[in-house]
Point group: C2
Chain length 649, copies 2
């Protein structure tokens, strides 16, 4: 066997500096990009199916075969899929900003719209009314010490504790002094004439921990917490002033693990490779969360060490990888997580850069595929205290569902796949600039009208999840596609290729951002139908198991970050959501982040989420005999059982 | 002003690889060595007085003036003091192994002699008798879990806690699961058929922390702790099997901070320079303690993460620098430490490489110059429970004293300076190979007989502390020096230089390791007399203050690592120790390390040390009006007040 030769790839990255990396002959360009820590988007994990990892080879020899994702003219211009192209010489490769989607601004729930702010304000009020607010255990205390002298040589720490204990009416042994604060103490006291303000945490055993020290009085010292939602696709942060409960800053970014696969299964597989667990752990903490923390702290004008309490909500796999705990048994029968809950951790244990003694709470999981995002969401959606039978639908890369009310709760998860986030769809993309997020189609002319993310003059670049639901809903409403998703009308906007696969042309080359036609093919529609079928059949299976008809559902709470929101009517029209009156649907933004916010501002809320987690019954759909039948039945528009849907709704 | 030029020094290090480092013209070779992280011994902190930083310039231009430490022939051969020689071109510099003394094997209390083992065994027995043994809070528990299945999908952590809580008869919420153990859990359970042994710590609030997990049963799992003594000059470690209290391995090395100055004052000054505190913190942890931990763990065959409890005893300055807490106020009136005690810290906070959740206890200080080494020593010497009035003399770079009994304890510190450890003495050296550690002199012939550290054929290289005491005691006994330390006999062994300074020739060039005469000058003897005078006058001042005569002392406990032990008769003869019957003297080895050992194996012992610390009265000698007079009076051999000493003792 010949030894592999070593070459160098020079990545010319749009909007960034060049990256050089040594590679071996025969490796793929995608592998080279991973070595260069360059996060080329590859939601299909590099098996050539998603077509997202398009790069342009400017110089050098490669081997690759033709693919439907690269038209012949682009192929001649050097465009290739990075995953399916092997290196045969030194290369110069151009990587467009779009291929680095995870670095782009993700449009997730970030309180940037008045609608989201309204949802959040309502939640704050409800938490206050429920007495689940402000009991985060942190407080400020200002002390004025007697100055030391030759006849009073008590050490600084003991001097401070003596006065503080007097004010708190406790023993000074009941106050633990964090090393972080101790390091600040000697200079601070002498800079402030022995007067300062301490950040205290009351511990569950009624003792205190002195976390930090500031000059001045309570009003000048910060009291800050951080809520984190780690989604498979994107990560969101909310920095909170714990004195008032008000947000100080928000931030979000793509999950840095995306380069290792779009869904949890591919991430778990990557985690079992040598060094993989560490890689994924770092990819989310170092590449993603720490920079985001720096960003929100910069916005708020405080250093990360002044974050004293952190709450993390994430699905079960993300929680394992965030903590660096082996996740492989999540996908091996009998699908056992390493943990449901973790107890309280400390900032220093996770290298988050926050205060080393910060409490870190993790929202509890209840099963391999129903995680802390759902227990947090079940809390913030408030379905746990409804009389009315309610359904929470969290649309992420995994679709997760909770059904019930104040009496019982049941949860399940289904693999919707990456379609809602732009994977598996030739013109699919994440909800970033250029994404069509809403669409109507004229029934007569078949001409579409778009709402596009980005600046007013932004041209369309593809479809994000909400735009995809709209488009397919509109195609069906206009009779352009039939119940099986086949194109059944002819005209300027429809086409059929040499193999007979029909398509709808969303935008012609001269109107699109890429100067290529944007096309939704029957293959794309098939992929989408499977995704929406997974969601609907999961709802149906769960209700059937509990012996409820679909119309027993009295309220539906839709959460997730697949776009700015979903046109529910279209989602019902295509058979993704149950056919219920529209007023029963409530869009609640990122319920996982909201739940983490609740846990952050209140220990009683955190306890409530644990209690909810213990109370939820987990339904493993893959173990349920009727789920497959339900799924097959749901893979039509809207459904094989027409009685479930009334198209005039 | 001319800009400094950049040159390169190539350090050719005896027994090691070459080091290249960029330097600026005008910097000293010692500064260059510090940049290269090369720890050239400079106990005088580079002011040219100790003569220890001898290097040989092999190539290149330097500027330096002549010094009494370098004879003319050696000066022509390129020998220079690194501290007093500035760089004027690229250089090649030879550094002998001796100049790197801190890296050498330090002869400190390390249980390597049967005497030390005997002292240690007696302490172990006494602690057992006192019920201060074994209550370290750590225990092992073996569990056999039910295996999970599709119908029992409880997560690993909750499954383990359920069984463990049953066995412990507590709630599973009362057991905290360390993240370290959680990361091990999934694979361990599946590798062991769901049977394993946990390392538990009982917390003061009666809850438990699960620290670690092992396959197999209690017998196979380790339970390890570590005692650390951080001296100004050297650091000692004792790795202990906490199941039995038996030592597993010992280790010691020079304190990595030595390059920044020999005594605490110079270290504190260095710590106030930009980045200095961090440098000193790292110099002791990264350069010294972590490698020593690796070494003792390697000897014992276990990884450092399996150390679950750590106790550190050190003087006040060393404790501050170890923890990275600003120490500068220790030397500024009114001499206030940042802390006396710290409460329990965690391994991860100090980056020791031990288990991240290991408890780290710090022996409490009671003043700026009486630290945890003394509270630990007051404990292990057992003077706190004696009826007899007892004196603890800890001979380090600082001399520290505790006097009292079960009723009261008083402590003070005096700056003995580096003489006992080889500084300030032209032929002085630390207690490493080649050091004369004991000496007798024939009264008639004036010929000396030595006991030398090292192999049987080892030639003498210089005097360590105990050898120095012996030599000066013998010179006085033989009438070779008078009460003022002046040479008063003539012969082959004595000489007088051109300025009239007398000296005693310990070894002629042909019998010495360096092939140079080894000489003790009157200047050396003066320096030593000041050191011994500081010790004796401190004892005298303290007793006078308490209104006790010297012979009220009923027992003296001598500790410290200045040699293999001290010839007490000689120490009395020269007026360093009080004139008491020899049988009242007890050499107790490294009492700081022994005290740390006691605290390690017993939380009650650790509590006792805190209690002792609170009970000791601290006497600030510098604030005491009569100390200076006492010191001047003690700067004779044996003393100006002859009645205090009876030379026939």
């Amino acid at each position: 066997m010949m030894e592999a030769l070593t070459y160098t790839i020079t990545f010319k990255v749009e909007g960034s500096k060049d990256l050089l990396v040594p590679v071996l002959s025969g490796e793929s360009i995608l592998e080279g990009a991973k070595k260069a820590n360059l996060a080329i988007d590859a939601p299909c994990s590099g098996n050539g199916t998603c077509g997202k990892c398009r790069v342009q080879v400017l110089k050098g020899a490669v081997e690759s075969k033709e693919t439907r994702h690269i038209p012949p003219d682009e192929y001649s211009a050097g465009y290739r899929l990075a995953c399916s192209t092997t290196i045969q010489s030194d290369l110069t490769v151009f990587v467009s900003a779009r291929a680095l989607a995870y670095q782009s601004r993700m449009k997730v729930t970030d309180l940037s719209t008045s609608r989201e702010q309204g949802i959040f304000a309502a939640l704050q009020e409800e938490l206050r009314d429920m007495g689940l607010s402000g009991d985060h255990g942190l407080s400020l205390i200002t002390v004025q010490l007697e100055k030391p002298g030759l006849d009073d040589a008590m050490a600084d720490r003991e001097r401070l504790l003596r006065t503080m204990a007097e004010q708190l009416a406790c023993e000074s042994e009941s106050i633990r002094f964090s090393l972080y604060a101790l390091r600040k103490l000697p200079h601070l006291l002498r800079d402030t004439e022995f007067s300062c303000t301490g950040v205290l945490r009351q511990e569950p055993d009624q003792r205190y921990t002195l976390l930090d020290l500031f000059p001045g009085t309570e009003g000048e010292a910060p009291l800050t917490g951080l809520a984190i939602d780690i989604g498979t696709t994107s990560v969101s942060l909310l920095l909170v002033n714990l004195k008032t409960g008000e947000p100080l800053a928000v931030g979000s970014a793509g999950n840095g693990q995306i380069r290792y696969g779009a869904d949890v299964i591919n991430r778990i597989i990557e985690s079992t490779r040598p060094g993989g667990l560490e890689r994924l752990h770092k990819a989310v903490i170092e590449v993603c969360i720490r920079p985001l923390i720096s960003q929100v702290c910069h916005t708020a004008g405080l250093p990360p060490e002044q974050i004293y309490r952190v709450v993390v909500a994430a699905n079960t796999t993300m929680t394992h990888l965030f903590l660096g705990v082996p996740a492989e048994h999540l996908r091996l029968e009998p699908y056992i997580p390493a943990f449901f809950s973790t107890g309280t951790l400390r900032g220093a244990e996770l290298d988050l850069g926050v205060h080393p003694d910060a409490e870190v709470e993790i929202a509890p999981s209840i099963g391999s595929y129903v995680g802390g995002d759902i227990t947090a969401g079940a809390f913030s959606s408030m379905i746990f205290k409804q009389e009315a039978l309610s359904l929470l639908i969290d649309l992420g890369t995994n679709g997760e569902l909770v059904f019930g009310n104040g009496e019982f709760l049941m949860a399940c998860a289904c693999s919707a796949g990456p379609a809602f986030e732009g994977g598996d769809i030739s013109c699919g993309m994440r909800a970033t600039d250029g994404a069509v997020e809403a669409c109507t189609i004229d029934q007569d002319t078949m001409e579409p009208t778009f709402k596009i993310i980005g600046a007013p003059e932004q041209k369309p670049a593809g479809l994000c999840g909400s735009g995809l639901i709209d488009t397919i809903g509109e195609l069906f409403r206009c009779g352009i596609i039939n119940a099986k998703g086949r194109i059944v009308r002819e005209g300027k906007r429809t086409a059929r290729d040499e193999w007979g696969i029909g398509s709808y042309i969303l935008a012609f080359a001269d109107q699109s951002e890429s100067s290529r036609d944007i096309v939704l093919t029957e293959t794309d529609i098939d992929n989408f139908i499977r995704a929406k079928g997974a969601i609907f059949s999961a709802i149906k299976t769960m209700l059937t198991m509990l012996d409820f008809p679909m119309d027993a559902i009295e309220g539906v709470y839709v959460s997730g970050g697949i776009g700015s929101g979903i046109n529910v009517q279209n989602a019902i029209r295509i058979g993704m959501f149950p056919n219920l009156p529209l007023e029963q649907y409530h869009y609640i933004g990122n319920s996982s982040l909201s739940g983490a916010y609740g846990m952050l501002t209140s220990r009683k809320a955190a306890e409530k989420v644990l209690e909810i987690g213990r109370g939820i019954t987990y339904l493993e759909l893959s173990a349920h005999p009727s789920y497959m039948d339900e799924f097959v039945a749901a893979c039509f528009i809207p459904h094989t059982d027409g009685s479930l849907f009334n198209l005039d709704t």
